[in-house]
């Protein structure tokens, strides 16, 4: 069937494509399996799992610009926060309380924030680029703090009361609806992003990461491509932010903070950049680890998290997923 639709492709690319689609399907199944497992193993901890899902969207979106385009940023929470505040303000001030509509507002707000911060951040490279992103996140944070009439300032934006999803599933104390909502969103984002990073556009982005000069020589627009990726990234982060606003019903200034940006980067590098799986694994392992150690010792857990990060650099320098993939590949080659 696949081969038929690809009448111009050779047989081998058709096979490749089928293999890739199979791998995507496996990926979706793995996410689903982990999600169900999480639901069954921690039925009382769904709020945490939902939070992890929301952050996973942020880290995925960060991976798009950092892992695929090589843009260094410590201000990615600006996109996440834009989505969260967009959805929150829509609900609290404009009465848009349908969760799907709130999500849409969040996605649009995130994409717009992506365009703006992309336009600024892409002006420089390396360290100065990092600093531009830091400036953006601080400006966004200050702006939200100033506009306290709209955002609630440092007290947080409260009074977000999302309706039931499709009028059927109410957001409950146990957080079941929010969790399912989040997982569906995550899988949808994952599938879409897999297509995007594999498309010619995605390949172009990777090319820019490796050698922007050559891409420009080929006649492609480096800046335009990156800006577009930034907008996509913003939409994904915005969806994460909206999910956060819907599930917690409060939006705080922390969603626009440097800390969140830095944590997202840490999670991404921990998992491994440049592959969507790495982003997911990094988020899951970091937040889960943090939850376990901070519950075990709320007073001194930071030291243990620090030790974990050092250990990862020493023993899995490509990140958890990257090193694992490399290991499997090496085994596979030996086997052959």
């Amino acid at each position: 069937m696949m081969a038929l639709t690809m009448n111009t492709g050779t047989l081998s690319t058709a096979r490749d494509r089928r293999a890739r689609l199979t791998r995507d399907a496996i990926g979706v199944l793995v996410i689903l399996a982990v999600a169900v497992l999480g639901y069954l193993l921690f039925p009382n901890n769904l709020a945490l799992l939902t939070r992890i899902t929301a952050i996973a969207l942020l880290v995925l979106s960060l991976d798009l610009v950092t892992g695929y385009c090589g843009v260094a940023t410590l201000g990615h929470a600006a996109l996440f926060g834009a989505g969260a505040y967009g959805a929150g303000i829509a609900a609290a001030h404009f009465g848009i309380t349908d969760p799907i509509a709130m999500l849409a507002v969040g996605v649009v707000a995130g994409a717009l924030a992506g365009l703006v911060s992309g336009a600024v951040v892409l002006r420089a490279h390396g360290l100065p680029q990092l600093v531009l992103s830091i400036a953006i996140i601080h400006l966004a944070h200050e702006a939200a703090n100033k506009a306290s009439g709209w955002t609630g300032g440092s007290d947080g934006l409260a009074g977000i009361m999302p309706d039931a999803v499709f009028g059927l599933w109410q957001f409950d104390l146990w957080g079941r609806t929010a969790y399912v909502f989040g997982i569906v969103l995550l899988i949808a984002a994952f599938v879409v992003l897999r297509q995007i990073v594999r498309s010619p556009f995605g390949m172009l982005c990777r090319g820019i990461k490796q050698d922007p000069l050559r891409v420009r020589a080929m006649g492609a627009s480096v800046h335009g491509t990156l800006i577009r990726m930034y907008a996509i990234s913003g939409a994904v982060a915005g969806a994460g932010g909206a999910l956060n606003a819907i599930s917690t019903q409060v939006v705080g200034l922390d969603s626009l903070s440097f800390t969140l940006s830095a944590e997202a980067l840490v999670m991404l590098v921990l998992g491994g950049t440049g592959s969507l799986y790495g982003a997911l694994i990094g988020t899951l392992s970091f937040l889960w680890f943090e939850d376990v150690v901070s519950a075990a010792n709320p007073f001194h857990w930071l030291t243990i998290v620090g030790a974990l990060l050092i250990a990862v650099v020493l023993f899995a320098p490509k990140g958890l997923y990257g090193s694992l993939a490399a290991l499997i590949e090496r085994r596979g080659r030996k086997g052959r």
């Binding site: 420089a124 100065p128 830091i134 200050e142 930071l302 030790a307 020493l314």
Partner: protein
């Protein structure tokens, strides 16, 4: 007019504090190409040692400063051998992960050992006196910091530009393999530069403690400021760092005087504007 002078003095003092604390980071990031987010942690360790020496042991301020610098370097040597050694030449993001990990550990340990309260470093009476400048008074400590900043800038410039070691350092930075082939012990060069950078961090932590007080979260709280200052100046350039500190110090101080409500906006908009005009930093070199 008096107000303008007065703000000028404040700006100069604040800029110099920033310079003294951040210049060590400029060395590691610009010359050794390590994104050292643990810089603040080393400054903090210096502060804690000085505080312990001066407050609990009752030693003289000068001795405390010396002890802080030496002690921090001694602590840093095994860290360099065991951890930093592994990330030289690695991708920046890996370096970020490692140095953030180190920072977390240092914060946790400081919190455990010294407790979460503020620690002060008692200054000698001569530094506490207000000094009259004619149109206003400033604390002697501020003048002392300005002097320290000037001394550090000159000393470091001489060290890098005029000594044999500086030549080796610059050679190793530009092309480590070639420098090694020419008989430069790059390992030693890196270790010494790292020690110098850490020593400067500790020195800055102690001298700047009046403005940026020592507490466990110090290591992260001011990290962004250091990073911004160094990058705006152009990592690795001493005149660049100095210019960035003075410029940003002036903008920050003036912004806070004129419109404190928007102080944060002033500062970061200025940062964006500067990087927009100088995408490699004020004194950044083309790669």
């Amino acid at each position: 007019m008096q107000t303008v002078f007065s703000i000028g003095v404040d700006a100069l003092a604040y800029g110099m504090v920033l310079f003294v604390i951040s210049i060590g980071l400029s060395v590691t990031m610009g010359l050794m190409r390590v994104v050292n987010l643990a810089h603040g942690a080393f400054a903090m360790i210096g502060g804690y040692i000085a505080s312990y020496a001066a407050r609990d042991l009752g030693l003289a301020y000068a001795v405390a400063v010396m002890l802080a610098v030496v002690g921090t370097i001694l602590i840093a040597i095994p860290v360099e051998r065991l951890l930093y050694h592994r990330i030289y030449g690695q991708p920046e993001l890996t370096q970020v992960l490692m140095t953030i990990g180190i920072t977390f550990c240092v914060i946790g340990i400081a919190n455990y050992v010294f407790g979460p309260t503020l620690k002060t470093i008692p200054t000698p009476d001569s530094l506490r006196e207000p000094v009259s400048l004619g149109f206003r008074t400033v604390s002697a400590h501020r003048l002392f910091v300005i002097a320290c900043g000037t001394a550090v800038a000159l000393g470091l410039w001489y060290f890098i530009e005029r000594t044999a070691f500086g030549v080796k350092l610059r050679a190793s930075v530009d092309n480590a393999a070639m420098a090694a082939a020419l008989g430069v012990k790059t390992e030693v060069v890196y270790a010494v530069s790292f020690a110098v950078a850490v020593g400067l961090a500790a020195f800055g932590g102690v001298v700047g403690a009046e403005l940026l007080p020592i507490e466990p979260y110090y290591a992260l709280r001011y990290m962004v400021t250091f990073l911004v200052v160094v990058s705006v100046g152009g990592a690795g350039s001493i005149p660049g760092a100095l210019a960035a500190c003075l410029l940003l110090g002036a903008i920050d101080t003036t912004g806070r005087y004129l419109m404190p409500e928007f102080g944060e906006f002033f500062f970061y908009l200025a940062v964006i504007a500067i990087v927009w005009i100088f995408p490699r930093g004020l004194a950044g070199r083309a790669k």
